[in-house]
């Protein structure tokens, strides 16, 4: 049975606003199912998981769980955000994101030069620590969906940026017990979207190659060739 509402979440690869059309837009276009676009540029997996759970919680107020479908494309584990409504850094309005109604989330990225990013890079950019946090965000959403019987799919935006591929990290004692809990049956059958785009045969122009982002054509093909076949195979969408 097809869903009656789709919740989508992710970073810039999943952001739909104004002229920006990514896979959630084309998923909506193809399925004609009302879709919530909660993807936001540069956000990390804390923001993504929170957004997904918030919108799913709202969707459950008006829909049966079996009528809801969640699609998440996870972001880089080195990206963080923190709620900063009353923090000492509130005067810095750069790189803030709105999850519900106000721009309360300050986002940081390793490599950025603002105070918060520099300190965050020193304090939180530990790769094991980042991996722990990202997997906990993935698992929190997974637990939520399974407990509520909500259908979902997940995938990664970029190679090695979300979940590490290095066996040394995956076998690390603080990581392994978390990683083993991820239900990869609900992940799309690809490594990550960007690698899929590179192998798709669709040209990546200089601009998109420089910024390592898929074109609209890639997003559309990704929906048609990867997402929808997966959803039909799972019985999450009617094959019409």
């Amino acid at each position: 049975m097809s869903a009656k509402v789709i919740v989508t979440a992710g970073c810039s690869f999943s952001t739909v606003e104004q002229q920006t059309r990514t896979w959630p837009f084309f998923l909506q276009e193809q399925t004609q199912i009302p879709t919530i676009y909660s993807g936001r540029i540069s956000v990390g997996n804390g923001f993504i998981s929170r957004s997904a759970i918030y919108h799913l919680t709202k969707a459950l107020e008006t829909h049966q769980a079996q009528d809801i479908l969640l699609g998440i494309m996870w972001s880089g584990r080195s990206r963080f955000e923190y709620f900063y409504e009353r923090s000492p850094l509130y005067s810095d309005k750069n790189n803030v994101r709105t999850m519900i109604e106000n721009p309360y989330y300050k986002i940081t990225n390793t490599g950025w030069s603002d105070d918060a990013s520099v300190w965050l890079a020193k304090l939180l950019s530990d790769d094991i620590g980042s991996t722990i946090l990202t997997i906990e965000h993935i698992l929190r959403v997974q637990y939520f969906c399974k407990l509520h019987n909500i259908k979902y799919f997940m995938t990664e935006f970029y190679k090695d940026a979300v979940l590490p591929k290095d066996e040394k990290i995956l076998k690390h004692h603080e990581v392994e017990y978390l990683y083993k809990q991820i239900d990869f049956n609900n992940f799309l059958p690809i490594d990550n979207m960007f690698d899929w785009c590179l192998q798709s045969g669709i040209t990546l122009d200089e601009h998109h190659l420089k910024y390592q982002h898929p074109t609209q054509e890639h997003h559309k093909a990704f929906v048609n060739q990867v997402v929808i076949p997966f959803l039909i195979d799972r019985g999450y969408l009617n094959d019409t």
Partner: protein, 256 residues
Amino acid sequence: MIHNKVMNPKLLITAGCSFSQVPESDVTWPVHLSEYINCETLYLGRGAAGNGIISRNVIYNTLQALKKYKPEELLVCILWSGANRHEVYLSKHFGKDILDTTIIDYGEDHDELSNPTKIVKHKNFYLVNAHWDDKLSQTFYKYFHDEIGSYIFTLEHILRVQWFLKLNKIKYFMSAYHFDVLPNDPFHLQHSDINYLYNQIDFSEWLSVKNMYEYCSTTGLPKKNRARHPTTEMHKAFTNNIILPHLISKGYILNK
């Protein structure tokens, strides 16, 4: 009508901060509870730990327990800690100026109670507390602490454990050690980023008190030197008057 047969757990898992630590200078509630039920007990309480450490400890150790026990043989008991307590995972020392941390050391016999601390092995989790004057804590609270943000983190830790336990069909109870665990005023409770999380907590699995500290202050029992910490007698009263009646009424343990 089918009645589930009430039985005592075979393994008790208790978690929290110093109010739930074993050993402590006073005999805390996990010991009294364990003595009543008379079963193997895993004491995970850690002084000064925040809810990130508590939630990770519970999930990791429950997963380990599930290798040996059936879900119905476990009982998880959690007294959540202050929302403004956090931790940072660091694989390497970056230098004294950052990693000047507040050391807690109970010696080799109780290595798990130290700061830095561990979940599985190797002590790479560094606790930060708002009133500590070490550089790690001061930097953390200067740049990243926000009261609402802290409540969001705590609610997410609570919900992650709640959902994990429910999915695995494991019996549990939760409560708060003090007033600063859950948001409790209208401003915070109605805040849009808090409200949708708070409303998902299953309070039917919580003890019938606001928090342990408040309960202790109503018992009339004498306080001791550490005014913010309950005495052995208070822990015993809390176990006998609050925890046991809750567990018996839920059918999670036998009524002796």
